[in-house]
Assembly symmetry: C2
């Protein structure tokens, strides 16, 4: 271990999902095993940092003012806005092909323990969109955990002022292919609560 | 998805252990959620690329000619050299505290399928070390797979010319805390072959 190596490892470890060992392995790869990939990464990251920004309307990644989804008139007509925690959630939703409305990316969820309050989330622009009257339906696709729940309640409270907007939360329960036998207690609880008449 | 975003994701995906989804999540984090961490990463990686290099003797990471392990006289006296595949293996070995000799990092293993031949590995400097006569014992700590095996045989063949050097391979079998019940067939085979008289 050398100081420069440790400094790089520390920066890699700050990325979510990257642990101590992965950061070490990544650093070795970038510095010794494939030094070219280190140069390429610096270049791609610098370029992307200069060009990629958040869509001023929904918070999705884009290289112009508005992202490609907000620019798509076939999608904006629906008045449906799906609220997600991260851009990755939006991308997953897009890949599924199950949704054809607009999005709003919060870039996080309320978490008093981690010091994340409403002002840290992309909520100002959501209010702006509500005020503009373009939103008819808000679909909350936030995680099935306490922080996701708190964020949903907060948004529901905010939306109350806009009587005409309907708010729903995506369903929770057994995933496709899942069986009751292997589901954890919280999933089963959600599945029971989310039961629908046949 | 934007072109600059996709280019960054592609570079991240080239790092071993980083899949499509992780690369996506990492890129979003570096560009939108914590833009500072993107700058810090570029800086740390550029600095490390300029300062970190492979030790000319063993291939470990270092910022001088020789790494700190090769410079340590208490360690070089033993004449023991442990051959590992990656720098990460060396670091894992060091953390265990189980070994106090020197190392030799191959930066890979022989793999005809992936087009990795002896010339792609850090073998020239190993031969140099054998010729110099400083190595008394070679401990092969390479993976327990076909490619690891092939690499061991190749090195054993090379070492034959240096009659006085003893070569061994680390033991394979049940890991600490492991039980026969949950061990896979290859592990059990290795454990049986590696049985030692009581």
């Amino acid at each position: 271990m050398t100081p420069a190596f440790e400094a790089l490892q520390k920066q890699l470890k700050r990325i979510p999902g990257v642990g101590y060992r992965s950061a070490e392995r990544m650093a070795v790869h970038l510095l010794l095993e494939k030094p070219d990939s280190g140069d390429d990464l610096i270049q791609a990251l610098s370029y992307a940092k200069d060009h990629v920004k958040a869509c001023i309307q929904c918070g999705n990644i884009c290289e112009e003012e508005l992202c490609s989804i907000c620019q798509d008139e076939r999608r904006s007509g629906s008045g449906q806005v799906c609220v997600v925690e991260h851009v990755s959630d939006l991308l997953a939703m897009e890949k599924s092909g199950a949704y054809r409305g607009l999005y709003h990316v919060l870039h996080g969820k309320l978490s008093p323990i981690h010091g994340v309050g409403p002002e840290d989330l992309n909520l100002v622009s959501l209010e702006k969109r509500l005020v503009s009257g373009d939103i008819k339906e808000l679909i909350l696709a936030l995680p099935n955990d306490i922080e996701g729940e708190a964020t949903c309640h907060y948004i529901q409270d905010q939306v109350k002022r806009f009587g005409s907007v309907s708010v729903s939360r995506i369903g929770f329960g057994l995933p496709s292919g899942g069986s009751v036998l292997y589901a954890d207690a919280v999933t089963l609880k959600s599945a029971l609560e989310g039961r629908q008449e046949f």
